[in-house]
Every structure is written in C-alpha cells, then in structure tokens.
C-alpha cells in the first residue's frame, strides 16, 4: 500500500470540505473493495477520508412509506434490522447474500453503490425498487445514478448520504453467485410497486439495467409463468472466464423466475 494522509471528519460538511481541499483524496466507507484495491497498489490517493466517524450517515428509519437507510449502514445491519424486515423483506434478503459474514459486518450501502461494481447486489435493489439516492447536495433517481461500468452520476466531491427505498407491494431478489467471489454472476430484483412492475438485472451487464419486456409481461400476471415465453438478448452482456454472454442471458430468465417463485 502506498502511504497516504488520513482524516476522520465528524460531519458530512467537514468531509465535503476535506474532499475539496485534497483533490486527490478518496473516501473510505466500509473498505471491503477500497482496502484490497489499496493493498494491490491499484490506487494511490494522496489522502484517505474515513467516513466511519460521521453519525449522520448511520441509522435506518421509516419515513411514511419510505425506508431511509444511511450511507454508512452495513449490510449485516440491513440484513438483521426489524424495520427493514417488516417493510421490505426482499431488501434484508438481498443484504444477507452479499459477500460473507465478515464482509457484511464492514461493507456499506453508500460504498457499494458509489463503487457501482457491475456484479454488486445493491444496484439491483436500488433500481428494482425505484429508490432515490440522497447526497450532500441533491436527490438522484436510482436509475439515473448508475451510469456505466464503475461509473455513477456523482459529481467531483459529492457524497452519498442515504438511500430512500419506497415500500413495494411485493418484491424478491435472487442471485446466481460466483462460488469463489460470491459476487452476482446474475442477480435479478423483481418488484411490484405503486408505479408498476420493475425488473432490475445486475451482474449480467456492464451496469445494472431494467428489462421492459419482462416488466410488461409481469404487469398482467406477476408470476414466473408470465415470462416463460420470453428470451433475453445476449448482445452487450458480460462474458468472462466464469460465464459467456449467452449463458448469462439464459440465467437472467432462470433467476428472474426463481425470484418470482419466492414471492408469497
């Protein structure tokens, strides 16, 4: 690891100021991707700004029909939280299949979505539920937040503070995990929401995406049978040593059906 200066601000305002003062600084959330990246010398930030001391980034609360989760809330907390389990059980299920126990005890919501790893689980939930990403300066619709491979709509120096998830009528997440890394080779989040049916796919492409054809078919019948006749086009999907694009395209339907079968 290259040497860096270390800062532990006590407020979001102080973190924003530190970022502005140190243009080559990086934010540290749970560190489950960032610290391995530093260890491999794949990044050389001048300074590391640790968000671990900022109380306003923690906490899970219900605001009417929305569940607001702070950016520094860990996956293990979301998995076990009683409010999450009663309002959006699919979100607790999703958090419970990220990485392993120890990764879930450190990894955070804000870190995961800001990194936007194409194989991460959270982008599927954010887009699948039609959530809103809240930053230090604005609100961004989940769909507009994820813009490409490891890319987001965040501006220079902008910090995610929370995500607001609207409570769906019904929802479920299913993933086909890479057995070694536990990342999603394909993850599908299905949700019946006030604004219609949403199907979000993560792990299969360079960035999370929706499947309008599936959504349309599921609008009249929110069950696995409704998508039986549909197929997913493999063009543009990820191909690597773990799976070809065609295999991932096939898996999307299989995993979507498994997710739908979980809805009770």
């Amino acid at each position: 690891m290259y040497a860096f200066g270390y800062h532990r601000p006590g407020s979001v305002a102080d973190a924003v100021k530190l970022l502005a003062d140190h243009p080559d600084a990086k934010l540290l959330a749970g560190g489950q991707t960032f610290i391995p990246t530093l260890k491999q010398r794949l990044a050389q930030p001048s300074d590391v700004i640790d968000l671990g001391g900022i109380a306003e980034l923690r906490g899970i609360r219900a605001e009417g029909d929305n569940l607001v989760i702070g950016a520094m809330v860990k996956h293990g907390e979301v998995m076990r939280d009683a409010t999450v389990k009663s309002m959006i059980p699919a979100l607790a299920d999703m958090a419970g299949v990220i990485g392993d126990t120890q990764v879930r005890n450190r990894g955070t919501l804000g870190g995961s979505i800001s990194n936007n790893d194409p194989a991460a689980d959270y982008p599927g939930a954010v887009v699948g539920l039609g959530a809103t990403v809240i930053t230090d300066r604005r609100q961004i619709a989940g769909e507009d937040f994820f813009t490409g491979l490891f890319e987001t709509a965040l501006e220079e120096g902008e910090i995610v503070t929370a995500v607001s998830f609207p409570k769906p009528v019904a929802a479920a997440y299913e993933k086909f995990r890479n057995p070694a890394s536990r990342y999603a080779m394909v993850g599908v989040f299905v949700a019946k929401t006030a604004g219609g049916v949403r199907v979000a796919v993560t792990g299969a492409g360079p960035c999370v995406f929706r499947l309008p054809e599936f959504e349309q078919a599921l609008s009249t019948n929110f069950a696995a049978d409704a998508i039986q006749h549909l197929n997913v086009d493999a063009s543009g999907l990820n191909a690597d040593i773990h799976a070809s694009a065609e295999y991932r395209a096939h898996l999307i339907k299989v995993v979507a059906k498994r997710a739908l079968a979980k809805i009770r």
């Binding site: 860096f4 391995p36 260890k39 076990r80 120890q102 990764v103 005890n105």
Partner: protein, 157 residues
C-alpha cells in the same frame, strides 16, 4: 504517523502508526498478538478474523486507524482466567482442526455466528453453520469436525 488508541482484549493500548497499517499487522507486529493469522491477505480465507465492538471482521481488510476508540477481541482474549472459551473447548473436544492454521479465525467467526443466532432466535443447525462460516476457508478441508465443534460449542455457550 497517527496516534491510535483502542481497547484490545480488555486493555487500553496507544500507538503512533502509519495510517496504511492494517489491523492484522497492528495486532501481530505492534502488539505481538500472533494468534491472529494472516492466510491469504486478500479477504478470502478468514484466518485473520477478530471481533471489533462485537462483530467479526477480517483484520487484513481494515486499517488500524479506523478503530480508534473501538474494542477489539482476538483469540488471545477469548478465554478468561486461564480457562478456554466454550467454543475453543468444543474445537478441542471435537478435533475441529487439522493443521490448525485456520482455527483461530474459525473460532472467532463461530463465536460471533452463535451470538447473532441467539440474538435473532435462529436455530443453530448444520446448514446455518456451513452458510455462516462461508468466509472461512480450511485448506485441510476439515469442515466436518469444524461444523460438529461449532454446534457443540453453541450448546455450551
């Protein structure tokens, strides 16, 4: 250099360290607590698991400076007054180890796993233990006795 103060196995420790020092390095090299093993050093194997404020974490994937003010427990701090913790005793009774390299991480993960199950009212069966220990790898592949040991340790805890 940054000053860091934390409670390790019940004792307050303060050191001036480089911010890039990993928690695993801090425990092993600054404090001489070599019971925390470093296996893969890439967050996969779980040999380096310790407890931070009650949660199991991989100490090779955390900076020591992040834990200023925190309470850390390592395998050396698990037993009390020269008596093994019930989970350590269960690993010994059930021969839950072969070469022993992964054992300290296995035990630290297991203690957290059992504590969380009891808090959440989850039944501790073979399925729960195998899923819960997915972040710990035994290269001797001695999982059968490890799982047996964790279930026995859970009953004793």
């Amino acid at each position: 250099m940054t000053s860091v103060t934390m409670t390790v196995n019940g004792k307050a420790v303060t050191r001036d360290i480089e911010p890039r020092m990993l928690l695993s390095t801090f425990l092993r090299e600054e404090l001489g607590l070599t019971g925390t093993h470093v296996g893969c050093d890439t967050s996969q194997c779980g040999c380096c698991v310790v407890h931070v404020d009650g949660d199991s974490v991989k100490s090779c994937t955390a900076l020591a400076v992040q834990f200023d003010g925190a309470s850390v427990t390592t395998i050396e701090g698990l037993g009390q007054n020269g008596t093994l913790h019930p989970m350590q005793e269960a690993f010994r009774e059930n021969h839950g180890l072969q070469c022993g390299f992964c054992t300290t991480g296995m035990i630290m993960s297991s203690v957290d796993l059992v504590k969380k199950a009891k808090e959440q009212g989850i039944t501790i069966d073979e399925h729960y233990v195998r899923e819960g220990l997915e972040g710990n790898i035994c290269r001797c592949t001695g999982y059968h006795n490890i799982v047996k040991a964790v279930i026995a340790g859970a009953q004793a805890m």
